[in-house]
Amino acid sequence: MNAAVGSWKVSPADGSRLALSLELRNEGRESWSSADGYAFAYQVFDAATDNLIEEGPHAGFSADVAPKQTVRLDLQIDLPGETGRYRVFVSPLKENVAWFYERGSQFLLIEAEVNRGTVASSSSAVSTMARQRLKRFGRTIGRGFTYPFRTMWRHRSLIRSMVRRDIMGRYRGSYGGLFWTVIHPLLMMLTYAFVFGVVLQTRFGPDDRPGNFVLYFMAGMLPWLALSEAVGRAPTVVYEHSNFVKKLLFPVEILPVNLVFAGLFSEVFGVLIFVGGLFYFGRDLTSMVLYLPLILIPQFLFTLGLSWFLAALGVFFRDMGQLIGFLLTVWFFTTPICYPEGQLPGEYAWLFEANPLYVLVDSYRSVLLDGVAPEWPPLLALSGVAIVLFLAGHAWFYKWKKSFADLL
């Protein structure tokens, strides 16, 4: 089943109709005979979604077309009248077997734009399915680069109010209210500080000023607070919003974005507590703190990419919701947050060297405590990883998004 497209001519007819005259050469071994079910026709696809919309009538060949023989065909193509862009495949087919183009044969591709019942423009070219797949892949990649940003820009006001709603709603109905946003990280930090600083006598470096451990520990906790909150909730977030997926016209891809912002919000409180502690122990912030936003960018991208990935995965594997708590605990303790990295034996050094979280922890400590600029090479490496994860995470989420409604 192979055909070669010779010369052709597409001309607009009345309304949304195209007239096509086309030369096809039989490049296969079998002769095209209507009796054997050979015919030719066209299919109209939606250019935006690649969905098949309609199939034209199958026309038989008036006479058998032997191999290497050329046949001239005339047909009319009826495009849908609705405004939009359409892709038309014109190809021979064998009834109940396949379209030639599905078997790798050449076919004529017509791209047409219809505007309120009339063909506004059309272009045509010889193509193959392989070429189409490549183009589709290119489009996917192109979308992969633009869509994540478009998502966040287009829905910025919705994201803002969803985050607000999330934060306000979190402790709604409890007596502590918004206060818990501060108390929760504070209590957690105090507990860890007690266990590691007081009981286990952990020390960071030779510096033995009071509060040294607490401050180091808190600085390291800050990125963790934001990351763990977003990543920990990501696997269940779609499931928890199944109503939004199935019953509302809602951009589901912003749900993980909301989590990341909510996590950052918690971090802001953490920073306030930290700064309070810093002043309490008689230290000052240096101008290096101005690097913090620069660290936040890869942190944000990394967290969001991971959240997108896990959010989609969580729809397929409900177990992710249970698993993630455990994974996060492991991640927390293998990252030198509550102990100095020097305490890790050499053979475990990879634990923090290859750990994106540690890059953040270390950078936070540099700018907030040590008053030095963050170490650039690991931060740049992290930024690279973060951007890839961000784009890939969104692409992954976007790919599976269509199935969510069927699954929940």
Partner: protein, 416 residues
């Protein structure tokens, strides 16, 4: 403007959710699913100001179709063109957070539907007025009754100024007052050129507000066009299904009087000297029907067979409501159209023709062949179930189709 062009939807049924991922990892070289066609080749067009009603049994694909129309689901083939903002009311209060007050939820829902805060602020008084839930607007939504929930959600949805409104079974929960208000609002929206798609099991409502209707069965359009015609077809199908179900149940129940000649009945008695062998309900064109418009011509045909000579038998009919109230009964003697003496082996066909001035609800037909004294040869209770449909929500059982006039005059009261 909403156009569906050749919409089909295939659900891939996987035994486990993970199979879906697995299949993707095999790049289609292994198939781990079964296809289920929820919709097949659905095409229609709804113009601004038009309202399309969709009816169909549960599982016929209505909800899937609505989800595709709003863009929540992707169709497998075909294309939906939408012009303008879409508001979807698939489940009332789907985006509501129970902990938040009504007012806060209006903001959230409005924003989800694409309005800015300022726009919502502007619409707020009108939303509150339409919802009519008073001070509850400041209370958490979790304290609402389901009716109040519906009021608030519906009110929010119609105030986002949609160009296309898609509503699924929305008004079923509200009380009569609110339902009425919604109908009026629908009419207003129609006049304003809003495109509405509407799913309901309330056939009267569909007839009342829709300009066109679609009857879906097994994901396919069975009938499309004039609402009353579509409703009749739908009701006919539903009742057939019901009848089949009842026959089945009856058979299982007691192998009842061995459902002889294909007649269904809830009870049968008589000496069978004359036997009713066929009962049919016919419309004006003489076609069997199970749905009739209020006031439409209807005829009841009873065919009975005599096994012995009878001097003056009579044939009667009785219409009852579903809950057993006798609505109207007569027979050939009362009507003074005697069928005369009948000989053994003779078959008599009697037709009662009348205009069916009943109110919209479900009725049953009971028929009998009797002695002139009233004893039964063959009496069959509830042989046919049929439905009277009417766009107007009349009260009661009868439709007295009154001619209404009104006059006005000014009374001057300062006559000395």
């Amino acid at each position: 403007m909403l156009i569906a062009n050749n919409i089909s939807k295939v659900y891939r049924i996987y035994r486990r959710p993970a199979d879906r991922l697995k299949e993707a990892l095999w790049f289609g070289s292994r198939s781990l699913h079964e296809d289920f066609w929820a919709l097949r080749n659905i095409s229609f067009e709804v113009r601004p100001g038009e309202t399309l009603g969709i009816v169909g049994a549960n599982g016929s694909g209505k909800s899937t179709l609505l989800q595709i129309l709003c863009g929540i689901l992707e169709p497998t083939t075909g294309r939906v063109s939408r012009e303008g903002r879409v508001a979807a009311l698939l489940e009332l209060g789907a985006g509501f957070n129970p902990e938040f007050s009504g007012r806060e939820n209006i903001f959230i829902n409005g924003e989800i539907m694409g309005l800015g805060r300022a726009e919502i602020e502007r619409a707020m008084p009108s939303i509150e007025r339409f919802a009519g839930i008073g001070n509850f607007i400041e209370r958490p939504v979790k304290t609402y009754s389901s009716g109040m929930y519906v009021r608030l959600a519906f009110s929010t949805a119609i105030h986002v100024e949609p160009e296309i409104l898609v509503v699924d079974e929305a008004l079923a929960v509200g009380d009569a007052v609110f339902a009425n208000r919604c109908v009026r609002k629908f009419k207003e929206l129609q006049a304003a050129g809003v495109t509405i798609v509407f799913v309901s099991h309330d056939l009267g409502l569909v007839k009342q507000i829709c300009s066109r209707a679609i009857f879906l069965e097994d994901g396919k359009i069975v009938e499309q066009g004039e609402p009353s015609a579509v409703m009749n077809r739908y009701v006919g199908t539903v009742l057939e299904g019901q009848k089949a179900f009842e026959t089945e149940t009856d058979r299982i129940k007691a192998e009842t009087v061995s459902g002889v000649d294909g007649l269904n009945f809830s009870h049968r008695h008589g000496d069978r000297v004359a036997e009713v062998i066929e009962v049919e309900l016919l419309d004006a064109a003489g076609r069997p029907t199970r749905a009739v418009g209020s006031g439409d011509p209807l005829s009841v045909r009873v065919i009975s067979k005599f096994h012995a000579d009878q001097p003056s038998p009579m044939i009667g009919m009785l219409i009852r409501t579903r809950n057993g109230l006798d609505v109207f009964g007569t027979n050939t003697a009362i009507e003074d159209v005697p069928i005369g003496p009948c000989a053994a082996g003779e078959q008599v066909t009697v037709e009662f023709r009348f205009e069916c001035w009943l109110a919209a609800q479900e009725y049953t037909l009971t028929v009998a062949a009797q002695y002139s004294e009233g004893y039964s040869h063959d009496w069959l209770d509830d042989v046919i179930t049929f439905r009277v449909v009417d766009a107007r929500p009349l009260a009661g059982v009868a439709n007295l189709h009154p001619a209404v006039t009104s006059t006005k005059s000014t009374v001057s009261r300062a006559e000395p």
